[in-house]
């Protein structure tokens, strides 16, 4: 065979082999805007404070709570087991590894849910899945878990069940002692005045 063609063939094989051993891109592929919009319209990313409380109490090992508020707010108070990734650091390589953990459910939270939702959109654009937003944030956390509201008497029993669950969760998270309800009943006995015998025997 002609030497030219041997050389060409060898070159092509070398190029092909080069493509094979190229390092796989460590950066995940971003998803298209259209796909992102469809994902944004799904409500499945929202989890309730009750669900999060339940998962914490049950020591669910697959959840990763991510506080997206500024670090000083995280230091003042944070949910048990949460890590701090302020929103503007969410794309830095150090933190991106947390989003990548296999099999973990990442739940973003902040004082409300707007910043968490923004973190979610950015993370979803970067291709991360298994990411969630705690609806209502810490404000909702306090109004439902820490200070649950007693339902009115006319409410259906499920609301009372939920209330009792929340009360239990509240005790768990605040470490409050159980206070008993003292009901002191003052019994007033009023005796009607006896009037004299009316009429006669």
């Amino acid at each position: 065979m002609n030497r030219k063609y041997i050389f060409l063939a060898f070159l092509l094989i070398a190029l092909g082999a080069g493509l094979l051993i190229l390092p796989t891109r460590s950066v995940m592929k971003q998803i298209d805007p259209e796909k992102l919009m469809i994902e944004i319209m799904q409500p499945t990313r929202y989890v309730t404070t009750d669900q999060v409380a339940g998962m914490i109490i049950e020591n669910d090992p697959t959840i990763r709570l991510v506080d997206v508020r500024p670090m000083n707010e995280y230091a003042a108070f944070s949910l048990p087991g949460s890590v701090s990734i302020p929103l503007d650091s969410i794309v830095t390589p150090t933190f991106i590894d947390i989003l990548k953990e296999n099999g973990m459910k990442v739940i973003f939270y902040d004082n409300d849910d707007i910043i968490s939702d923004q973190a979610w959109v950015i993370a979803r654009r970067l291709g991360y899945k298994n990411i969630y937003v705690m609806e209502g944030g810490l404000n909702e956390w306090v109004s439902t878990i820490i200070q649950p509201i007693l339902p009115p008497e006319t409410a259906p029993s499920q609301e009372f069940d939920l209330y009792n669950q929340r009360k239990g969760a509240s005790l768990y998270f605040t470490g409050a002692k159980i206070e008993s309800n003292d009901i002191k009943a003052e019994v007033k006995v009023s005796r009607k005045k006896k009037s004299g015998a009316e009429g006669g025997c």
């Binding site: 004082n111 910043i115 200070q147 409050a176």
Partner: protein, 212 residues
């Protein structure tokens, strides 16, 4: 002689054809209709700014027609829109928001310098669509904090919302650290209910009636 040298013309044609094919392939895969204009990092930095907001009190000038430089887009579905929306708002369902026609329209609005305000029931509902549009490069898009719910609440006195900060996102409504400890006044209150139970004894019959 190699078969390719016997037929040089055929070889050249095939080579050129192949190259053209590869070039076309390379060109077409890199041309999606929509491309992000903001990097994720830049997006993260810009979303918190106040310049992204169109405040409820600014709606007054929009409703009475004084503001001619702003358009209102209601991104909820048509049914909910029909039940009630901000006067003057256009219904552009979120998914439709990025179809070809709407994108062209948004681009021309951007060129004319017209601000587009998107709103949903809440700021949360409009947050995703707003963020997406910003990332596509539409820097003339703002979001209405509080959404339609807050507007509905304040519509008779929008100016009053200027001093109200409760509807703005990100504000802690509680001192979380204090409220989550069990010290002092934060324990579940001891409930002592004094119920007064009045026991009324019925009047004993006055004397014996009737005979002994």
């Amino acid at each position: 002689m190699h078969v390719h040298e016997l037929n040089p013309i055929r070889t050249t044609v095939i080579l050129i054809g192949f190259t053209i094919l590869i070039i076309i392939g390379l060109l077409t895969i890199n041309n999606p209709r929509l491309t992000y204009k903001l990097s994720p990092k830049n997006t993260a930095s810009l979303v918190g700014g106040n310049e992204n907001y169109f405040y409820p009190y600014q709606l007054e000038n929009l409703i009475n027609g004084k503001d001619k430089n702003t358009l209102l887009f209601d991104i909820r579905n048509n049914f909910v829109f029909g039940q009630g929306h901000i006067p003057g708002a256009e219904n552009v369902d979120a998914i439709e928001l990025i179809n070809e026609d709407n994108i062209k329209r948004l681009e021309s609005l951007k060129k004319k310098g017209i601000t587009v305000v998107v709103y949903g029931d809440t700021q949360l509902q409009a947050n995703g669509p707003w963020m997406l549009l910003r990332q596509l490069g539409f820097d003339n898009i703002k979001i209405l904090p509080g959404g339609f719910e807050y507007y509905n609440l304040m519509k008779n006195d929008l100016a009053a919302s200027k001093t109200d900060l409760s509807y703005l996102p990100g504000n802690p409504k509680f001192n979380y650290a204090e409220i989550s400890t069990s010290s002092g006044s934060d324990t579940l209150p001891r409930q002592t209910t004094k119920t007064e139970v009045k026991v009324e004894r019925k009047k004993k019959n006055s004397g014996a009636e009737g005979g002994c």
